[in-house]
Subunit: 240 residues, 2 copies
DNA sequence: TAAATTATGATTGTGTACAATATGGGCACG
DNA sequence: CGTGCCCATATTGTACACAATCATAATTTA
């Protein structure tokens, strides 16, 4: 298990990548792994393994884990360690509600601010999404799909909202991993194209409304029933 | 300076308050102090002072500071320590834009979910705001004013959005401290009453629009020009 | 006298060692 | 044979001490 985590889920950092590696970098790498569903919800993240993986001391790993806990993608249980978060169905609904609150605004900002070069890049991005889909590269497809929303947030040019969206997109990956049906996600890149079309036409209202619809569709394709892992809940309940 | 920080800005934790004090508690206390403008922007937060203040080891203080840095209310400068954040004018605009994206949604949720008892409590809250205003208790007034928005978020019953609002309200306190004219804030509790009126009438659109207006008014009363603190910038620029 | 430079002190960053706690297996007992 | 208890082990939490870095002040020189 540890070996698998070490060798596969988080790739060891290359030796030539600078003398030290910051906790921010470590957090980002784990964050990316979560976003790409290489680290499934509930995965234990032992400090030793992460120390070996990144070649740093425990102190730095602990800071990285604390950063991730603040972003709600990692759960720190006292004296038990760090785990990739397992959002509940309620949390999932809250995450989507939050995205519906924020991302329409981002679409309006994008329509107001985007330049032609950026539009071409967005279309490129969606092309890569489609390519990943048809060639069955699931991780790649998931990464690009979330990255599209983050990219829009960046174009929207509000770092505060961008940070929120980054967090929400990562949590959405966890949610899809927990509540998603495996085959459903094949329609997402199509909707992304619809969003781009609205952007091109500079139709802020259309763009905002399509974003809400898009998020609704993603949420609707989930099975948001409490698949409680009883082995965990019994433990937690009985201890308290 | 350190003595002032120790004795006044952050009250020493009472001795009887349990054997240990968690980093979350420490972070919350500093967070509250920032929100109440007891800790002005740019204030240095030396680790050993905080150790003495809270009676804990440096390790815990460092974790608390990292939590606060993630919430963007504290800035960690490498090898120089922790400082209360000094938002730029651009950041200030972004914070208000983010609030305009999120808080109208919260108002809609409030209108949909609030119960009569909660309405009475909200009115109580605003009464206390007014009382603090007329009696000149500036800190109290600021705390209650921000707390009103957080309270609404809690009633909105979406913990994800609530956390975002908590952060944005705290950063708004810093922004008002930096860019606000001292006497302006006397109209806020009046607008809060308008918001409550819209909630009572269950007019979701009104409530949402009034929230946007309210946030616009707060932002408009600021002087969002870059008041660069040259003493700081000169240092940073000349060294690099 | 003023500016530059070095030296000193204080503060932060980091690694290591130890203590506390939870997990899992073995053992006794019902 | 199943259940409860206890001990060994592994992992996390915490404190301490040392190293690195930066700010301040004194000193020297032009």
């Amino acid at each position: 298990m540890d070996k698998i985590l070490h060798n596969d889920r988080i790739r060891p950092v290359p030796e030539e990548s600078g003398p030290v590696i910051s906790e921010q970098t470590i957090a980002d790498r784990i964050f990316s792994a979560v976003m790409e569903q290489r680290l499934p919800p509930g995965t234990k993240l032992p400090e030793n393994v992460l120390c070996d993986t990144f070649g740093v001391s425990r102190a730095r790993i602990r800071r990285a884990l604390l950063i991730l806990a603040e972003r709600e993608v990692v759960e720190l249980r006292s004296n038990r360690g760090a785990f990739v978060a397992r959002p509940s169905a309620d949390e999932a609904r809250d995450v989507f509600a939050a995205r519906r609150a924020i991302e329409p605004t981002i679409m309006r900002n994008v329509v107001a601010l985007i330049e032609d070069g950026e539009i071409a890049k967005l279309q490129d991005h969606v092309d890569r999404e489609t390519a990943a889909h048809v060639s069955g590269k699931r991780n790649e497809a998931i990464r690009l799909s979330g990255g599209f929303h983050v990219r829009l947030a960046e174009i929207g040019n509000n770092p505060v909202l961008t940070r929120f969206v980054e967090e929400l997109v990562a949590r959405t990956s966890l949610i899809i991993g927990l509540f998603g049906s495996p085959g459903i996600s094949s329609c997402l890149d199509g909707e992304h194209r619809t969003l781009i079309a609205a952007i091109i036409e500079r139709e802020a209202d259309h763009a905002a409304n399509w974003m809400v619809e898009h998020l609704n569709h993603i949420e609707r394709d989930l099975e948001l029933t409490e698949k409680v892992d009883y082995s965990i809940d019994i433990q937690t309940i009985l201890k308290s």
